[in-house]
């Protein structure tokens, strides 16, 4: 529980400093510090337990389906990191209180810092691969926010994005590696995995697992070639650099190497990849650091180089190497954090970080200079400082490598070379900043010592460098032993933390490095010129952003190429997919297309009908550009479709088709008025051929499907309907009974579709203004008479007649063809005829019906009929009917289905009227258009 609280305290506590900022900057800082201190306090007990050789564990079930639990464990390595994270964190909080300017939002800073702290603690304490990954990515995310803290600056934004991209990508690769690892071991629990090293190394998936995990580690720890994000992360405020980029986040990568060391190390692949990467990073970064004029740039490359060193130590794969690696983690954290803080102080006081401007600071801030020089000495590996100890262990390790055979000496040589560079850039940090004459054009002048409290963190860290450097056995030894022990997951090798081992070969190497480094630095001007001339190193930042921009551009190109906004393309793709769906099964040989039924004989009339339909359909295509003619041809197709329904025993369908047809024609004509009357041939020949081919393909496919279907027998549930229609549904017209009863729910849905269509169309017509042709396509002015008298008078007479027919169809529909839908259409058409013959205003004066309520009540009546059955404890839409007898009128039947059908009727009337009347009204507000369309 303590372990969970240690993580949760800063993570959730991140909310407090932004709130506390209302009470002042100090309050915010104090809050952050208090939270950190509390976490540290909480950590005391488990730490003590760990020091007593009992790892502390915590387990909470979370996502059992994937075995994802909250599994925490504090062992020696975790303990070391917890101490580093919380200890240095506390110092950074103090430092930042004075570092940040008045204008910087401090609450946000501390919030994000605490968030990061929580994530980092999580990384250290996780005993579960996935949990580790979660916290790992959280460190990436929170560091993104911290780097971009000064988000008005381009370099900050870009630096943050670069860091996030690289480390985020590494994390995703690592996720894959973790999944593989857990697949091999059968567990996510790290402590279990650590015991399964032999199994893992022997597994065929070992190589991909290792490489994927290493990508994660290397990106985080800025190993070559993923190193370049770190220098750009220097756009962050210096406390962030001191914390993330020296002590904590960048250490996560090497932490992972240490954490999984027992499980993954000990193979040639490990040696080559980890060792090789570490060595390359070590050398390259040390070399580069020397040439950085930016104070923080130098420190960043130095950090990369030291991380390379640590990586190399783990890569060497010997127990001593691992011990040295852990030791250097501790040492680097202390001296590099203090160096960043010192650099921050100088920046803070001079307003610049350019070492070509900053000179002679010794005179202005001797106290700070002393501290920085001691820390830089540690960085260079000067004896009596902590850096010297671990570096010497490193030199010693390089001498005992045998894997490279006769070339083994190269490693030692390379280590010495790196040492030379390290001394050289450390010398530059000391000399170029604190001596080297007078400052040049400082933005702030004169610089002086920073506030008292800003130096305290540096003092503490530098003191630690000294203490460890002088009295290693009394200070760091237990912690080192503890941490190294858990890294090795076994007995510790023999090692000694003495300052003086005699004039051993490693000491000679240190000596060479010191002398060589100082010599190199003294020749720096020549070296700078040489480098500029010989190795103009390509700027990784430019490359990175070019790559990103290129990717984005390419993504845009691909996207625009696919999603080009052309409906024709989208439709063609859909139809092509449909074609494939139809053609592939018909063409391959499973099952047969044609069924066993014999063909029914042709009769001449049907052939004639089919011919008329076919020709009419082709005519629609051929005349598509004479649009009115095409409409006429289309209505011929519709007519023949209706006849087909009659021909094959579907009178209801014929009625529906006929009525819908005419409403559609009216609608098309109303719309056509506002559209160009003539189209143009504008598709290319190739396009037309392609479309025709596709059309023929799909047409042929559907035709074959029809044929296959018609030639095979089938068994249907229709018999049930035929039997139950009269006794159960109270109607003889089975189609109608299906519509209002068996499948009345479909019909309810169908009228709802109509209602929505009408409403949506009403919406579409809202404030729509279209240019209105004042002449027909041939330039003839429209006929002056709006409503031909003869038409008007005769159609008025037809109205009651049509309504009578409509009532007839409605009442009879349950037993003979008809029903509410058709009746509704007939009523609507009768009224539309009045609209056409006498005008909207005229008709609406005489038939003042609001269409919206009609539609609403129609749907309501239909649904309410359905709900009515609840009162008889029957499911929705259960019908009831009965035969009644009235004197004089005789027998008649009443059915709830009729009420339902009334709803259908009203909806249809309302919908058709709403659509056509409003479409008709469009001309009232549209602007006459002088030029013909």
């Amino acid at each position: 529980m303590d372990l969970l609280l240690i993580i949760l305290l800063p993570t959730l506590g991140a909310l407090l400093p932004p709130l506390a900022i209302r009470f002042g900057r100090s309050a915010s800082a104090w809050t952050a510090a208090a939270i950190t201190a509390a976490a540290l306090l909480l950590a005391v007990e488990p730490l003590l337990a760990v020091f007593n050789a009992t790892p502390v564990e915590y387990h909470l079930s979370w996502l059992p389906q994937v075995g994802f639990d909250l599994q925490l464990r504090m062992d020696g390595l975790a303990a070391l990191f917890v101490i580093l994270i919380l200890g240095i964190g506390l110092l950074v909080i103090l430092y930042a209180r004075y570092y940040l300017a008045e204008s910087d939002p401090m609450g946000r800073f501390y919030g994000m810092l605490l968030l990061f702290m929580g994530a980092m603690l999580g990384v250290a304490l996780s005993d579960h691969l996935l949990l580790l990954l979660v916290f790992w990515e959280l460190t990436s995310l929170s560091s993104f926010l911290l780097i971009s803290y000064w988000n008005h600056r381009t370099d900050a934004r870009r630096g943050a994005r670069m860091a996030l991209t690289i480390t985020g990508a590494g994390g995703l690769a690592m996720l894959a590696g973790f999944l593989l690892l857990s697949h091999i071991v059968g567990s996510y629990q790290i402590s279990v995995i650590l015991d399964a090293g032999d199994l893992i190394r022997a597994h065929p998936l070992y190589a991909p697992t290792l490489l994927l995990i290493l990508i994660g580690a290397f990106t985080k720890s800025a190993q070559f070639p993923f190193h370049f994000w770190l220098p750009h992360a220097m756009a962050a405020p210096t406390p962030v650099s001191a914390y993330l980029h020296s002590a904590t986040m960048v250490k996560a990568g090497v932490f992972l190497l240490a954490r999984l060391y027992p499980a993954l190390s000990g193979t040639e692949l490990w040696f080559i990849v980890v060792g090789g990467t570490g060595l390359a990073t070590l050398l390259f970064a040390a070399y580069t650091a020397l040439f950085k004029h930016d104070l923080k740039g130098l420190l960043a490359y130095s950090t990369i180089s030291h991380l390379g060193l640590i990586t190399l130590l783990f890569g060497i794969g010997t127990p001593l190497g691992a011990v040295a690696g852990v030791f250097h983690i501790i040492n680097h954290a202390t001296f590099k954090a203090s160096l960043f803080m010192a650099a921050g102080i100088i920046d803070h006081e001079t307003g610049t970080r350019d070492m070509r401007l900053i000179n002679g600071m010794w005179k202005y801030m001797p106290h700070t200079a002393t501290l920085a020089m001691v820390a830089a000495g540690a960085m260079a590996g000067v004896p009596l400082l902590n850096g010297f100890l671990s570096k010497e262990m490193f030199f010693a390790e390089t001498l005992y490598i045998v894997e490279l055979g006769s070339l083994s000496w190269l490693l030692a040589a390379a280590a010495t070379l790196a040492g030379i560079f390290a001394v050289a850039y450390s010398a530059r940090f000391i000399h170029d900043v604190f001596f080297n004459g007078e400052p040049v054009n400082l933005p702030k002048y004169p610089p002086h010592e920073p506030p008292r409290y800003m130096k305290i963190p540096v003092e503490i860290l530098v003191a630690l460098c000294l203490l460890v450097g002088v009295f290693p056995a009394f200070t760091v030894a237990p912690l080192l032993a503890l941490a190294a022990g858990s890294v090795l997951n076994g007995p510790l090798p023999e090692y000694s933390l003495a300052i003086w081992h005699g004039f051993s070969l490693p000491f000679m190497m240190s000596l060479v490095a010191l002398v060589g480094g100082i010599a190199l630095y003294s020749q720096r001007h020549r070296l700078f010129r040489l480098r500029d001339r010989l190795f103009p190193v390509p700027d990784a930042r430019t490359l990175f952003w070019q790559a990103i921009e290129w990717l984005i551009d390419q993504a845009q190109v691909v996207t625009r190429a696919l999603e080009n906004g052309s409906l024709q393309r989208y439709s063609a793709l859909l139809l092509l997919a449909a074609f494939a769906a139809i053609a592939v099964p018909l063409l391959d040989n499973r099952g047969t297309l044609s069924g066993p039924l014999p063909m029914t004989p042709l009769d001449p009339l049907t052939v004639l009908g089919a011919l008329v339909m076919i020709i009419a359909a082709i005519t629609v295509v051929l005349w598509q550009r004479q649009r009115l003619t095409a409409v006429i041809a289309l209505s011929v197709v519709g007519l023949v479709v209706s006849l087909t329904f009659v021909r094959y025993s579907a009178p209801d369908l014929a009625l529906t088709q006929l009525s819908v047809e005419v409403v559609t024609i009216v609608l098309l004509l109303l719309a056509l008025f506002f559209l160009p009357q003539q189209g143009m041939a504008e598709s290319s020949h190739a396009r037309r051929s392609r479309d025709l081919l596709l059309a023929l393909g799909i047409g042929g496919g559907v035709g074959l499907l029809t044929w296959g279907m018609l030639t095979r027998p089938y068994e249907t549930i229709a018999g049930y309907y035929m039997e139950n229609s009269l006794p159960g549904g109270g109607g003889a017209n089975v189609v109608n009974v299906i519509l209002v009863d068996f499948r009345g729910f479909d019909t309810l849905g169908e009228i709802t579709v109509l209602a929505i269509a009408a409403i949506a169309i009403y919406t579409l017509l809202d404030r729509l203004q279209l240019p209105m042709p004042t002449t027909d396509p041939q330039g003839r002015v429209w006929s002056q008479e709006r409503h031909p008298v003869i038409l008007a008078h005769i159609t008025r007479f037809l109205l009651p007649l049509a309504l009578l027919v409509s009532i007839f169809l409605f009442l009879r529909g349950h037993n003979t063809p008809g029903g509410g839908f058709i009746a509704g259409l007939v009523t609507a058409i009768a009224l539309i005829l009045q609209y056409m013959a006498s005008g909207i205003d005229w008709t609406q004066q005489r038939w003042p019906v609001q269409h919206h309520p009609v539609i609403a009540s129609g749907v309501f009546i239909a649904s309410a009929t359905g709900i009515g059955s609840w009162f008889f404890d029957r499911p929705f839409l259960t019908s009831a009917f009965g035969h009644f007898h009235l004197p004089l009128a005789g027998d008649f039947e009443l059915a709830t289905a009729m009420l339902f059908d009334l709803g259908v009727y009203l909806t249809v009337v309302g919908v058709v009227m709403l659509i056509l009347a409003n479409l008709g009204k469009l001309t009232k507000r549209s602007t006459p258009d002088g030029e013909p369309n």
């Binding site: 006929s783 038409l791 005769i794």
Partner: protein, 113 residues
């Protein structure tokens, strides 16, 4: 006897309908073509409908006169359709009474060109 009557009405009706359509196809000018459908077809369909009335009435389910309704309906609407089509043609030819009062009694009833 009734069957003969039915057959007679059927054939006469169908022939009239055909004649109307022949007129539609054959006559040289829209205004002339109008005469066929408005009269012959209407009557032809009427004949067939009467045949239907007779047929279904004699099948024993009582008098079936409802086909007459269709006939009535056609008689009411066919002239209007013809009138509108003629008007539309006059409009297309620019010869409507309103726009060009110049049409005089005795104009050659062929406005095709």
């Amino acid at each position: 006897m009734l069957e003969i009557l039915i057959s007679l009405f059927l054939v006469i009706g169908a022939v009239f309908a055909l004649i109307g359509s022949i007129g539609l196809a054959r006559l040289p000018d829209l205004f002339m073509r109008l005469h066929g459908p408005t009269k012959a077809t209407t009557l032809g369909v009427g004949g067939i409908l009467i045949a239907s009335v007779l047929h279904f009435s004699h099948r024993g389910e009582g008098l079936s006169l409802h086909e007459l309704l269709i006939t009535v309906f056609l008689f009411i609407t066919a002239p209007i359709s013809a009138y509108l089509i003629a008007r539309a043609m006059l409009h297309l030819k620019g010869k409507s009474l309103k726009e060009n009062p110049g049409i005089k009694t005795g104009d050659k009833g062929n406005l095709q060109n």
